[in-house]
């Protein structure tokens, strides 16, 4: 069936660059102009390659204890020296990075998931659901994050949770303190989005609630979610490091940047063997800074006031 009344064809030709995800291309183009954010992004890519591909090129990847090579300073064989069990620091740094980055990303993903689902539901249904979710979030937000983590970490140590599981539990702990902020953010967005005209149109189409919530409302919050989620990865990596440094997070033999710095706990290591703690310290510092720079860059690039 064809129509008699046809839209002028020329209009369609000029106005439609019709390609998927033009928003993302716009954003990326703007991000590319931001030198500082690009530095952060490039550093993060390098850091990921270093941690996830690097160990394949290392002769010390097995992490075997080597009693003759204990606490040796950097040399041609061991570029960053060795630790108190004779393991290569450079290799351990990569392996620790795998864990730290994974924990940071996983904790972020989990808190984004919990936070956005609860935020969407609270913002859309309002009323009792909203009250319950947001009061719960408030409670979690009023307790300072780190002390809460210390307490949970201490309980875990007390219960003698197997070390293999601790990494997952650390992820859960970090997302537990991470989701309230995201839920609050998403909820506030939903509260205004739900009054928009296109939501009235979805009502008039008789769409089911789960479609309205997760297909129509949630995608509208993605730009801001991305910014916050990026920044959260940095926060999660920091928190994990602090916990692991204090022995309350991921514990050896699983390496993380945090528990590698633990070496600096003894005065002699701190003063005489800086190769033990400077590399992981630098890795944490540089990674978190890069993430924050990238997050700020994304925020600017996605700012609707600077858009179109």
């Amino acid at each position: 069936m064809s129509s008699i009344v046809t839209e002028t064809a020329g209009l369609a030709g000029t106005r439609t660059g019709a390609r998927r995800s033009s928003l993302w291309r716009d954003t990326f183009a703007k991000l590319k102009k931001n030198k500082v954010a690009m530095c952060g992004l490039v550093f993060l890519v390098i850091m990921f390659l270093f941690c996830f591909i690097g160990p394949f090129f290392s002769p010390y990847a097995s992490g075997k204890v080597n009693t003759v090579m204990i606490n040796k300073p950097p040399s041609m064989a061991h570029w960053l020296g060795t630790d108190n069990l004779g393991r290569d620091i450079l290799t351990r740094l990569m392996q620790a990075g795998r864990i730290s980055l994974t924990v940071g990303l996983a904790a972020m993903l989990l808190s984004v998931f919990i936070g956005s689902v609860l935020g969407v539901v609270a913002g859309y249904y309002r009323g009792v659901v909203d009250q319950i979710v947001m009061r719960f979030a408030d409670i979690l937000m009023t307790i300072p994050g780190l002390p809460l983590l210390f307490i949970i970490g201490a309980i875990l140590s007390e219960w003698k949770v197997p070390t293999d599981y601790r990494i997952y539990i650390v992820m859960l702990m970090l997302s537990l303190i991470g989701w309230p902020e995201l839920a609050r953010l998403v909820r506030s967005q939903i509260l205004s989005l739900r009054e928009r005209e296109f939501m009235q149109a979805t009502e008039s189409l008789g769409l089911r609630d789960h479609r309205k919530l997760f297909f129509h409302l949630l995608p509208n919050t993605i730009p801001i979610l991305i910014v916050v989620a990026t920044l959260r990865v940095g926060g999660a990596i920091l928190s994990e490091s602090v916990l692991s440094y204090l022995g309350l997070g991921v514990v050896p033999p699983t390496p993380t940047w945090g528990n590698m710095i633990d070496a600096a706990n003894t005065l002699i290591d701190f003063q005489k063997r800086p190769w033990l703690w400077i590399p992981p310290g630098f890795a944490i510092f540089a990674t978190v800074i890069s993430i924050n720079l990238l997050g700020d860059g994304l925020r600017d690039a996605l700012d609707p006031k600077m858009k179109r």
Partner: protein, 328 residues
């Protein structure tokens, strides 16, 4: 004559606001027959949109409420439906087109996704079938290169094209009634005519009944079979379009018809009806139009006229046409 598809009887929709009860729709009755186009005309703020929203059960909760009357669609009482039944009715049997095509589409979803949604939801089509049907719908509403449009985002299209897309979405499930709330008000005049042509074509092809809301008498003249003139939440005159245009009775309808500019009759000033629609809160028991009416009588300030049949199918609510007016 075919039977009524939509019957609204003595509908009252009120908004309970802090400053008082807004009687946005105050005792309205109308019917739309199968395949018929009924136009609701009136100045803005007279309750046209609220009438439409009441039909779909979308009156803004919690302050808005249908407090009286009933609405029947094909014999089914819409006010008694469960939320699930309402959901199945909307978009499927009754579809709606809004005034602002730009803001009625979700900015972050592609046109294709938004057209396919009701097809999944109501017709339970598979992804592939829905896609094929969506492409067919886009070309049906007269947009070239539908495959390309499927992947476009709303901000990439013009207002006229978006309104066509809205129409495509509205007719996707073959609704029996299409409610169009000022579908052309936000568009350029040339585009406006195209959209009206499209609506008329759809009506003829699918025998869809249309409830068209507008404040533009030009649109009415072009589209309507039957016209309902609303003022301050009430029907003040109604009749078949030719009868009403050639023989308007209510001073308000006359005013509206005179307010429309006519080519070749340039006057110093366009006719307009002095004053404005009264505040809908706490209206007195008078004819709501009395303070703007040039033929206002004493009875008009005291009592409200009822909608009375004067000719075949032509009804008016005005004391000028009531025999008893002299008695009161």
């Amino acid at each position: 004559m075919t039977n009524a598809l939509l019957t609204i009887d003595h509908l009252q929709t009120h908004f309970f606001t802090p400053s008082g009860v807004v009687k946005a729709v105050n005792d309205i009755s109308l019917r739309v027959r199968e395949g018929e186009t009924v136009c609701i005309v009136g100045e803005s703020g007279c309750g046209k949109s609220v009438t439409a929203m009441s039909v779909l059960g979308l009156v803004a909760e919690p302050q808005g409420k249908v407090v009286g009357g009933d609405i029947r669609f094909d014999g089914v009482d819409l006010l008694q439906l469960s939320p699930l039944e309402k959901q199945q009715l909307r978009g499927n049997d009754i579809a709606m087109i809004f005034q602002e095509p730009m803001s009625s589409l979700n900015p972050v979803l592609t046109i294709g996704e938004q057209i396919m949604e009701p097809l999944w939801e109501h017709l339970l089509l598979s992804k592939k079938e829905a896609r094929a049907k969506a492409i067919e719908l886009i070309s049906l509403v007269g947009i070239p290169r539908p495959e390309e449009i499927m992947n476009a985002y709303p901000h990439q299209l013009s207002g006229g094209m978006l309104q066509r897309i809205m129409i495509a979405i509205a007719i996707s499930c073959n609704p029996r009634l299409l409610i169009a709330d000022e579908p052309t008000t936000a568009l350029d005049v040339t585009i406006q005519a195209q959209i009206l042509d499209l609506l008329r074509e759809i009506k003829e092809t699918y025998n869809t009944a249309i409830l068209l809301i507008t404040h533009d008498l030009g649109v009415v003249a072009e589209m309507a079979d039957y016209v309902v003139v609303m003022y301050a939440g009430k029907v003040i005159e109604e009749g078949p379009v030719l009868e009403l245009f050639s023989n308007p009775r209510h001073p308000y309808t006359r005013g509206l018809l005179q307010a429309k500019p006519v080519i070749g009759q340039r006057k110093k000033r366009l006719n307009s009806i002095p004053g404005q629609v009264p505040n809908l809160i706490g209206l007195a028991d008078s004819c709501y139009f009395h303070d703007r009416c040039e033929s206002c009588m004493s009875v008009c300030r005291l009592k409200q006229p009822e909608l009375k049949q004067i000719d075949d199918g032509h009804r008016v609510a005005c004391w000028l046409y009531e025999e008893e007016s002299g008695l009161a």
